[in-house]
């Protein structure tokens, strides 16, 4: 029998017992809806957690240091490194190589220096740190008063609220748009003294910065416009750059040649060239962190990331999804029994009809396929109805959660998200489960003896 005819006959047959088949289909749809609702809740919660983690700016970041430096801090790492003294340094070349790795979006040095702010004729001490433009996405800036930096080389500053209060206790926000003076130590390169030169190994490689020989620190002042005030430390206070009270665009801090504690280490190194103590590598997606970290390790640098948190989170959500899926499937399992019941009843009721069909030329396979198609059609319609019902449940969950969060002065966020693949997967699964439920009734119908069925009428 042709596919179209099968479908046509199946739908006609289903319409014969509208109430019974309708109730069975609704049963399937409730099963599908509960499965969809549960899985979407799992997906929604996972996305919410991932979004929170991504917002913290910690889980997509790798900290890179040279194995030459900080030896003795990490014994395990020391044991792994055969000749740390021969390990490469974090120079401009290494920075370029890391920048060019796939999935890397940003490579910035961690800059934190001491400074003084002169405002209203008073001076206030504070640490100054350089923030990359990507810090805008950090959740700390969700509640930023004012604006973020207009560019990564702008003469602008964002102040920590506590520090702003120190500058202007009554109206810290009035500082936005005003100019402040930042007093800082500028690193100035020193030319080597004549009698030192012969002892300097590789001194001929002196670069433009001339930092390889030595430097002096000179007090400088730089006017900055306050563009914003932030009430919490960026990156959850977990990074070097978090612990600042005055934030500048990272390029501005580089341009101003602000003297850092670690410059001392650089000046001791022979061979020349600008080197970094720490580079912060930002990766497109927390899932890509491991691959990028491996690639940087291959380059023989020491790396550190907060990867394990996302790993265990994924594991947690896999288990959660599994359990939600199992609970969701329970209703579908009950619905499956309803399909078996409905079809077995149909076989009993339609014994004579099946006998007639066989007598006028239907094969066992035709009969089997017909019952299968009826089961599949119930699964299909049940699946579609289930998706709609699941969607309604999801909307209700999100609506309820939004009201709850808003009442607690928290931003409303969707906890229930139905990914598009779930729509197709749920309908396919519903059809598959229905076909499986149709196996027994279909083979029972196919096995009916036409002579017997036509005799008892």
């Amino acid at each position: 029998m042709k596919g179209y005819d099968l479908l046509d006959l199946a739908v006609r047959n289903l319409r014969q017992s509208k109430l019974r088949n309708g109730l069975t289909t609704v049963g399937i749809s409730v099963g599908v809806a509960s499965l969809v609702a549960m899985l979407s809740l799992g997906v929604g919660l996972q996305q919410l957690a991932t979004r929170r983690l991504a917002g913290s700016g910690l889980f997509d970041t790798i900290f890179v240091t040279s194995r030459q430096d900080f030896r003795g801090f990490d014994r395990e790492d020391d044991a792994r490194t055969e000749h740390p003294e021969k390990a490469p340094v974090l120079d401009e070349d290494a920075r370029t190589k890391i920048t060019n790795l796939p999935s890397v979006t940003e490579v910035e040095p961690e800059i934190r220096v001491m400074g003084e702010v002169v405002a209203n004729g008073e001076t206030h001490f504070g640490f100054v740190t350089g923030l990359p433009m990507s810090a805008r996405e950090n959740e700390a800036f969700d509640s930023l008063k004012g604006k973020f930096f207009s560019g990564d080389n702008a003469d602008e500053a964002i102040l920590l609220l506590d520090f702003a209060k120190e500058l202007d206790a009554k109206g810290p926000e009035s500082l936005i748009g005003k100019e402040i003076i930042l007093r800082y130590g500028e690193r100035q390169a020193l030319a080597p003294e004549t009698n030192d030169r012969p002892q300097m190994n590789g001194a001929e490689n002196t670069t433009e910065s001339g930092d390889d020989y030595g430097f002096s620190v000179v007090r400088k002042e730089q006017p900055l416009r306050v563009v914003g005030i932030v009430d919490q430390e960026p990156y959850g206070g977990m990074r070097t750059v978090s612990r600042g009270r005055i934030f500048l665009p990272v390029r501005t801090t580089e341009r101003l040649k602000m003297a850092q504690f670690t410059d001392m280490r650089s000046s001791l190194r022979s061979g020349g060239g600008k080197i970094y103590m720490t580079l912060t590598v930002r990766v497109k997606d927390p899932a890509k962190v491991q691959a990028v970290q491996d690639a940087i390790n291959q380059m023989n640098f020491r790396t550190f990331s907060v990867l394990d948190a996302t790993k265990s989170l994924r594991r947690f959500f896999t288990v959660l999804d599994l359990f939600l899926g199992i609970f969701g499937s329970l209703a579908l399992a009950v619905a499956t029994l309803a399909i078996v019941n409905t079809l077995v009843m149909a076989v009993l009721e339609r014994r004579r009809e099946i006998g007639v069909m066989k007598a006028i030329g239907a094969s066992d396979q035709d009969v089997k396929k017909l019952f299968f198609t009826e089961a599949g059609a119930m699964g299909f319609f049940g699946g579609i109805l289930g998706i709609l019902l699941g969607l309604a449940i999801g909307k209700a969950i999100n609506f309820g959660t939004a009201i709850y969060l808003t009442r607690r002065q928290l931003p409303a966020e969707p906890v229930w998200v139905m990914p598009p693949w779930l729509v197709g997967a749920a309908i396919a699964f519903s059809i598959l489960v229905s076909l499986m439920a149709g196996l027994y009734p279909a083979s029972r119908a196919a096995r009916l003896d036409p002579v017997q069925t036509l005799k008892y009428e």
Binding site: K2, V356, I360, G361, D364, V451
Partner: protein, 238 residues
């Protein structure tokens, strides 16, 4: 006792010592017990006998609805016992048309849909199916009742619809199991007249099970009498 073929042309039906036994409790019911008959192409044959004589069982064996315990059933030279169940279904679909005492129309379908059903199994295209079902129903005089349900028709009309369904795939063999059993005598005669006309027009072989001797004598060319699953006598008409 057996009938002999009367010509060298392959007979429409030939059974050789065909036997069908059913186990019943500890015993055995010998529904058909070693019957050998030959029916020529285009013949109209009546199978007669009391209830339980085995005439319907023999008809089911010829129809390929049942398989013999022993012996062979050859239809147009093909041994039905050697066919797979799929091939038997194909045989029923293309070579046989069946008419039943109780009409056996599917009550949830219109008579057009009923007539189209065997053509659906034979995978006939939709347009051709519609045309052929209309023609078949017109042939049996139901051209104006195409969309009626079986329950909206009289007994005679239902049997006509059932005949139209049997003829839908243009079979070479028409098997009728008590086609007049549920009809009054006049309607029964009308139906048999129709069967005779159509079988002549379509050159079909007809095997009819009946217990009404008078009808058999009037419409068939040959009557075969069965009792207790055995062939007891045969009556040929000129």
């Amino acid at each position: 006792m057996s009938t002999q073929p009367r010509s060298s042309v392959t007979p429409a039906i030939r059974t050789e010592n065909v036997t069908r036994h059913y186990p019943m409790g500890d015993g055995l019911i010998r529904a058909v017990d070693g019957i050998s008959i030959t029916i020529e192409q285009g013949e109209f044959v009546a199978l007669l006998g009391q209830s339980g004589s085995g005439k319907s069982t023999l008809l089911n064996l010829i129809a390929g609805l049942d398989r013999p315990t022993l012996g062979t059933v050859l239809v147009h030279g093909r041994d039905l016992a050697k066919l797979t169940s799929e091939q038997l279904a194909q045989y029923r679909r293309n070579d046989v048309g069946m008419v039943f005492q109780a009409f056996q129309l599917i009550s949830s379908m219109s008579i057009t849909d009923n007539v189209e059903l065997p053509m659906r199994f034979a995978e006939v295209d939709r347009d051709e199916r519609a045309q052929r079902s209309r023609e078949s129903l017109e042939q049996v005089g139901l051209g104006k009742r195409l969309d009626h349900r079986p329950s909206q028709l009289s007994g005679g009309e239902q049997q006509r619809a059932s005949l139209a369904r049997a003829l839908a795939n243009r079979p070479r063999l028409l098997l009728a199991d008590e086609p007049t059993g549920n009809l009054d005598s006049r309607t029964g005669e009308d139906i048999l007249n129709l069967i005779r006309e159509l079988s002549l027009a379509m050159r079909m072989t007809v095997v009819m099970v009946t217990h009404e001797r008078a009808l058999a004598e009037r419409f068939s060319q040959r009557s075969i009498y069965l009792a207790d699953g055995k062939l007891v006598s045969e009556e040929m008409r000129a």
